[in-house]
Amino acid sequence: MAITAALTLDNISVTFASGSGHLSQANGYTAVKNTTLHIADGEFVSVVGPTGCGKSTLLNIAAGLLCQSLGEVKIFGEPLNGINTKAGYMFQAESLMPWRSALGNVIAGLEFRGVGKPDAIRQGEAWLERVGLAGFGARYPHQLSGGMRKRVALAQMLILNPKIMLMDEPFSALDIQTRQLMENELLQLWEADKKSVLFITHDLEEAISLSDRVIVLSAGPATHPIGEFVINLPRPRDVAEIRMTPRFLELHEQIWSAMKEEVRKGYQQTKNKLVG
């Protein structure tokens, strides 16, 4: 008997109603086509692909924020309807409520679930400490650095103890040092109680150093997976150190040669869009 995957995207296609900007096909723009992927319980899977290929779109489908045109999404074997309540989502852009303090943001999900204020605050403080922000609870988002805001967003997601974590280029806006710090923190938190992670990135090195498996997407339109690579690097890992190992370089070489052509295509298309 096959073990049910935590998250299954089964033959998903997404067609946006034709808007502006695209080489307007009369019947809309197909961002994603016939995409199937499974994430096992406790597995860390990264999806890489050229910019604009439909990575965020896929993640929004998995989150239930967007409805697929064709195919089915299953969460632990159950078809998904509406918001995916088993998943936490970390967004690419700023997603904190600017009118709430760091602590207020972290405990928002608990409040929505009706957890009592004292209990929520206690848990919130503990989580702030765990992401290295003890003592910053009273600050508002604009009083925090970009890296600190990402930590708040991480705590905000993890406090709800989601079974599945959906992460959309969460660290892409950070400088390289902060980023490696956050990546290591993420790995530690993940190893503590293994959740299923679907991690989106356009950075191949980040994908390899974090994941159990890397999935490569083709350039858009009609994006679909074109390769899947098992990353059998030992854990626990240090993302900075692991990049120096021969096995890492070997994997990087292998995946990059599969990606290269797609990145070039993606770049060409973006350029054409701008010119045409």
Partner: protein
């Protein structure tokens, strides 16, 4: 060298202005150069010393207090009711595309209409008491707040909205924890204008017909060509408008401290 504080220059300017005014209007101080008669300048422009005396007596003998109280009550009521209505309608139209599309031309028309002409109608409807003034103020405040709330709802970041939905917020929690705070920040950004408008509504209403209020005092004095009392009323109104503005700034700083402004350093 220590810099002379700003308030020093501000007060110096005020005193200079009043001294200049006094010099030009007090009979017998300067040789007449425009009016043929020495008393005429004082008749048209008032005299600062007499104006201060009127104000002094008003406050000393307490004649002004009931009038000020009425004007302030009208202002606060107009502001409160106008803001609540603007908030409610703004949220409703901001969230319901259908309703906003239907209401759009009517809102534009109502806003384009010069609402001061409604004052006499409100007097017929609500009488000469405070409520006709409150109604006039409400029509002025409502649109300012409404447009800001409407804008605030439209400009809620879709990422924040999606994030809060992923955190498990229900529809009513979205309204309470996202739309309302976002809209409130826009209301606050227009607070100075709307408090000012509430004040205008009250005073203009009183001026056009009432038995109490600072606007009424001014109107009475104009009837007897008592220019000093008219100016005294204007000065008292100005000072109170300024005080009101300070209260607003204070509330703003307390309630909007989450907003990125000038970074404070020490």
């Amino acid at each position: 060298m220590k810099k002379t504080p700003l308030w020093f220059w501000q007060i110096a300017l005020l005193i200079t202005l009043f001294a200049f005014w006094h010099l030009l209007t007090a009979p017998g101080l300067l040789p007449t150069f425009y009016f043929e008669n020495d008393d005429k300048a004082a008749f048209f422009f008032g005299e600062p010393l007499r104006i201060f005396k009127v104000i002094w007596i008003w406050f000393l003998e307490g004649e002004i207090y009931p009038h000020l109280w009425v004007t302030m009550t009208e202002t606060v009521l107009a502001f409160g009711i106008g803001t609540l209505l603007g908030l409610a309608v703004g949220l409703w139209l901001g969230l319901s595309q259908f309703a906003s599309q239907i209401a759009d031309p009517y809102i534009k028309a109502a806003n384009a209409m010069p609402r001061v002409i409604l004052a006499p109608i409100f007097m017929v409807w609500f009488g000469l008491g405070i409520w006709s003034k409150v109604a006039l103020g409400v029509t002025l405040v409502f649109f300012i707040v409404f447009f800001n709330v409407y804008q605030g709802v439209k400009e809620v970041s879709p990422v924040v909205l999606n994030n809060v939905r992923m955190l498990g917020a229900s529809q009513s929690q979205l309204l309470r924890h996202v739309y309302l705070p976002s809209a409130t920040s826009w209301v606050f950004s227009s607070l100075h204008t709307s408090v000012g408008m509430a004040f205008v509504g009250a005073v203009v209403g009183e001026y056009l017909g009432s038995a109490k209020g600072v606007g009424y005092l001014i109107h009475q004095a104009e009837g007897t060509f008592d220019i000093n009392t008219v100016f005294a009323g204007i000065l008292v109104l100005t000072v109170f408008a300024l005080l009101l503005d300070y209260v607003v700034t204070f509330a703003e700083n307390r309630l909007l401290k989450w907003r990125p402004g000038q970074s404070e350093t020490i």
